[in-house]
Amino acid sequence: MEGLLHQVFAGLANGAIYASLALALVMIYRVTHFVNFAQGELALCSTYSAWALIEAGASYWVAFVVTVALSFAMGVVIERVVIRPASRAPALSVVIVFIGLMVALNSVAGWIFGYSTLSFPSPFPAEPPFGNHYIGSHELGVIAVTLGMLGLLYVFFRFTTLGLVLRAVADNAESSRLVGIRVERMLGLGWGLAAAIGAVAGIMIAPIVFLDPSMMSGVMLYAFAAALLGGIDSPIGAVVGGFIVGVLENLMGAYVIGTELKLTVALVLIVVVLVVKPSGLFGQPVAARV
């Protein structure tokens, strides 16, 4: 029982990360109708910059805030320089650009920081909180930080004019222009936000999976699965999907198929969702666009 609860809590902590990354994917999907394959590598670059800042002597939370801000800027710049010129190209070309971006960012991180595994500090105490046996401090902290971020995002999208404008762009870009919204700028903002969310996710998961250039590949696969499970166009779906995938992954790994096949859970989940319910749990029905 204790073991089961421990697995569930660890799953929730991972799930929080997947939820954030899936949310970032959904955000970009909703405004561009493309899946950002480079999302994980953006987060990777962010995490390395946080590491470098901490190594250079910055305190953890200063490094955290600076990294999130830098990542936002990086997202805006990448949208402007790499993605926007391809926005009118056929889908295949855009996917190729995304894959190119993914590979390029990964190699930049590897080039600068090397391929050895680095440990990343956690801001939370090493002892489990309140002397419990089920959940570690870092795991609890990850859940808290993520939920806090999701709450902020909810408030931003739900109650601010800028959030409303972003939702409008996602809903109907042409009409957005007609009410005077500069859609391209909003796309840049969306990319910035997605990169910032990714930065938080990367910094939070780095102490768990350790920091190296291949750190995000598995994490992103779960995030893809989470986004698809929830519905690739549904922010709520992404969050719910993230937590489900996190718990499922841990339970399957611990009790059913063993840790060495854990990634397969993501593949099976992706294929099952695509076969059974391509729109996911919360998404709008998808139809092949003609």
Binding site: T161, L164, V165, R167, A168, D171, N172, E174, S175, S176, R177, L178, V179, G180, I181, R182, V183
Partner: protein, 239 residues
């Protein structure tokens, strides 16, 4: 001086030209109506005015050239385009749709200014007030058209471009809409460039009519000219 003046306006989609040197005016607080069959270039005309497609020629609004401006900038000058198919934001609520209409309006955007705009829109369209929290996509066709007009009104425009507001609506609803449009035109001093296939009802509102045929103006003048010309009347009005 006219509010909107087009001179030699041409536009084309990928395959070929759709508009050939259109010249057209909308007087300040006036109503110009463009009539024509399907494919005459009416929708393209509106899209060309707000820069949604590539165009040549001059477009003057309020005495300034706007033919090189991007769509959002045109909108910010006070031109509210209600596109064909209404162009609402289907996943947002009625109130959010209206709020977006005001998000880049000229003039104050503080809480009180917005609140009074809302009040005015709900006066014109009381039904929208009842549907305030409903998703726009779930509104009826007539309500969506009201929402589209309401959103345009929220930007306190000087000019509204209306693309077939009667399309797909029951005759009674169309009458109600046109009554409200007449009120808006009179009370808010908004100029209107209206594109319609339903000539009979549009003519009642018009003070200048343009007949379009395959991208060209074939006749221009006040509505009584059109009514007086039996041949034209038969072809375009069907009575």
């Amino acid at each position: 001086m006219s509010l909107l003046a087009l001179a030699g306006l041409s536009a084309h989609y990928g395959c070929g030209p759709v508009l050939h040197g259109i010249s057209l005016d909308v007087a300040a607080a006036g109503v110009s109506v463009v009539l024509g069959a399907n494919g005459a270039g009416k929708t393209t005309l509106l899209r060309a005015v707000c820069g949604m497609i590539a165009r040549e020629g001059t477009v003057e609004f309020d005495g300034a050239r706007i033919d090189r401006m991007a769509t959002p900038d045109v909108a910010r000058l006070g031109i509210a385009h209600v596109p064909e198919g209404r162009g609402t934001f289907p996943n947002l609520s009625t109130e959010e749709n209206l709020r977006l209409g005001a998000c880049s309006r000229r003039g104050p955007r503080d809480r009180r200014a917005i609140a009074s705009l809302f009040e005015r829109v709900y006066q014109y369209f009381p039904k929208l007030a009842q549907r305030r929290r409903q998703q726009a996509g779930t509104l009826s066709g007539g309500e969506q058209q009201m929402l589209a007009l309401g959103r345009a009104l929220m930007s306190s425009p000087k000019l509204m471009l209306l693309d077939e507001p009667s399309f797909g609506l029951a005759p009674l609803v169309v009458e109600e809409l046109y009554r409200i449009m007449r009120d808006i035109n009179a009370d808010e001093h908004v100029g209107i460039l209206l594109v319609e296939q339903n000539a009979a009802i549009a003519l009642d509102l018009a003070d200048q009519v343009y007949l379009f045929e395959t991208g060209r103006v074939v006749m221009a003048g006040p509505p009584k000219d059109l009514r007086g010309d039996e041949a034209l009347r038969r072809v375009y009005l069907g009575y």
